[in-house]
């Protein structure tokens, strides 16, 4: 039953998650933290932080780690299969059909109509992290680290992995 829930928790976000890996993040959070309660939003934020600091697609790293966290090795395999399998099978099976309709307005509308919903979910997740940080660290560290990170990520070409490391380091030095 746990394995089946784990499969569903990754299958549903990936089958409705139009817009690539990042679009799946808030949908997975909704299942893992909101629906099944397998992790706190603090733990989920840590998974995202480490995930963003490592290379390769975020969706499969998230699935692999969370699956492992919930149900060990078999859990990791199930979560990754649920993430990768369905859309890959669709792609292999339906490539010819999709090729004919790739310029169709229907197919294009699919991803553009879904975007505002994903945007709302992402905005809500941003808010959750803000709330979490205000409760745990207070407003001054949140504001300082957040502002520095925003400047580094938006105005410089510093690698996001380094910004994550800076956040970790400032936390170790000042928030411990």
């Amino acid at each position: 039953m746990l394995y089946w829930h784990l499969f569903l928790a990754f299958f549903i976000p990936n089958i409705v998650g139009y817009g690539g890996g990042p679009a799946i993040i808030p949908l997975v959070e909704n299942e893992i933290v909101g629906h099944y309660g397998w992790m706190s939003s603090q733990q989920f934020a840590e998974v995202l932080a480490i995930g963003n600091a490592l290379p390769s697609p975020i969706a499969t790293k998230m699935a692999g780690y969370i699956g492992y966290h919930v149900a060990g090795g078999p859990g990791a395999v199930i979560a990754v299969l649920a993430t990768v399998g369905p859309s890959l099978l669709l792609m292999l099976a339906a490539l010819g059909v999709l090729y004919r309709y790739r310029n169709s307005i229907k197919v294009k509308s699919m991803s553009s109509w879904v975007r505002p919903v994903i945007m709302v979910l992402m905005g809500y997740l941003t808010w959750t992290f803000l709330d979490e940080s205000l409760i745990n660290s207070g407003w001054l560290p949140t504001l300082l680290i957040g502002a520095v990170a925003a400047v580094l990520l938006n105005a410089t070409r510093i690698h996001p992995a380094l910004v994550v490391c800076l956040g970790l380091a400032s936390g170790a030095l000042f928030l411990g």
Binding site: I15, A45, A49, S137
Partner: protein, 186 residues
């Protein structure tokens, strides 16, 4: 089975996985460099068709491309090899790093680290939200985007409707929309 070819596939997609910082979409140029430029498994046109079709399907783009290209080049074994090569090394690194992190989380400075990183993740999430707003506005217009956002927020957070149901309904609506006659058969 053509073993050298399978080896090249695995090598190419391991490189892509290890160098692809910043999630799936940022890996597309790396896939292009290996598949079109280095090994010449596909032409430019084939590659852009696969990319366009990959984008019309849900799920992460990097693994769809790895799986499909692996299948075309090396059959089922190539498909499995390429997907594993692009995902597995970093999943293992992730489990090892976070496992270490969780084991020592009672140490005060480790706990501080996990607090210090949350504002950074928050900023990254805010940036993604902004990206989606910008893309939605340029394809749907600002008014339609705001209306869709407000209605879906009300359904999800006011009435507790599952986001999958809302997205599913929108996808069906998109498929049922009438198609303007001139742009279909080209």
């Amino acid at each position: 089975m053509n073993l050298p070819l399978q080896g090249q596939l695995i090598l190419a997609f391991t490189r892509i996985g290890l160098l692809g910082f910043g999630g799936g979409p940022s890996m597309i140029p790396l896939v292009h460099a290996e598949v079109v430029k280095r090994y010449e498994w596909m032409s430019e046109d084939d590659f852009s068709d696969v990319l366009a079709i990959g984008n019309t399907l849900p799920g992460p783009i990097a693994t769809k491309m790895a799986g499909y290209i692996g299948y075309r080049v090396g059959g089922m074994a190539g498909c499995i090899g390429a997907v594993l090569a692009v995902t597995l090394p970093c999943i293992i690194a992730m489990i090892a790093l976070l496992g270490l992190f969780m084991r020592y989380r009672d140490e005060r400075w480790i706990n501080g680290m996990s607090q210090g990183v949350i504002p950074v993740v928050m900023v990254m999430m805010a940036r993604l939200t902004w990206d989606f707003w910008a893309k939605a506005r340029s394809s749907l217009g600002a008014i339609a985007t705001v209306v869709l956002a407000v209605v879906s927020a009300g359904l999800m957070y006011g009435l507790g409707v599952h986001p999958g149901l809302i997205i599913g309904a929108l996808l069906i609506a998109a498929l049922l929309r009438p198609e303007p006659k001139q742009s279909t058969r080209s």
